[in-house]
Symmetry: C2
Subunit: 108 residues, 2 copies
């Protein structure tokens, strides 16, 4: 069964332009790993300093797939480039970078 995710984070003011530029051409290996880890229909939106991400997961074991992604060398290098441009919310959980949001409505 497909799971849906909504997540939020902020961009540092000095990082906005670079983050948006980088996302016009995300590294091919990073995109391949996203798909290999069963993330689908992945969008990131920007407004003011906020980023919202929406994606779906259609695999069998989300935690295992996320560990696989985190262990991928090219993805680690990508995160090394983009994470310094970003600023987690103060209310993000202790293990969160992007903060998960609560889905309060869905209509397929």
């Amino acid at each position: 069964m497909t799971r849906r995710f909504g997540q939020v984070i902020r961009l540092r003011p000095e990082g906005e332009e670079e983050y948006i530029r980088l996302h016009r051409e995300v590294w091919p290996g990073v995109k391949e790993m996203i798909l290999e880890c069963h993330l689908r229909n992945y969008s990131i939106y920007f407004k003011d300093s906020f980023l919202f991400a929406y994606f779906e997961y259609d695999g069998e074991d989300f935690d295992t797939d996320m560990k696989k992604m985190a262990a991928h060398e090219e993805t680690q290098r990508w995160w090394g480039v983009v994470k310094p441009l970003m600023e987690p919310l103060e209310t993000a959980g202790p293990d969160e970078f992007w903060a998960n949001m609560e889905e309060i409505f869905h209509l397929h």
Copy 2:
């Protein structure tokens, strides 16, 4: 061709509980009109005071469908209930209630 939308707005502190409660059981006529106007895969997420909406549009004429929705009597009554619980961003456009966000990444 399917279009995707990401939108953001805030809840007034005193309106959070009521808005979330109402969205557990959105009025059936309102949901029918959403689908009749070709909005698909519609999710609303909540975190801190922020609401983020993601939906897809698979009709032929978005503006005409949105006018149809806005002319629907039950939808108008629904908006009369939920809009006072919400607070548009100061940076929303002159014709916006929910503010449209810029899609900066998509991977299907």
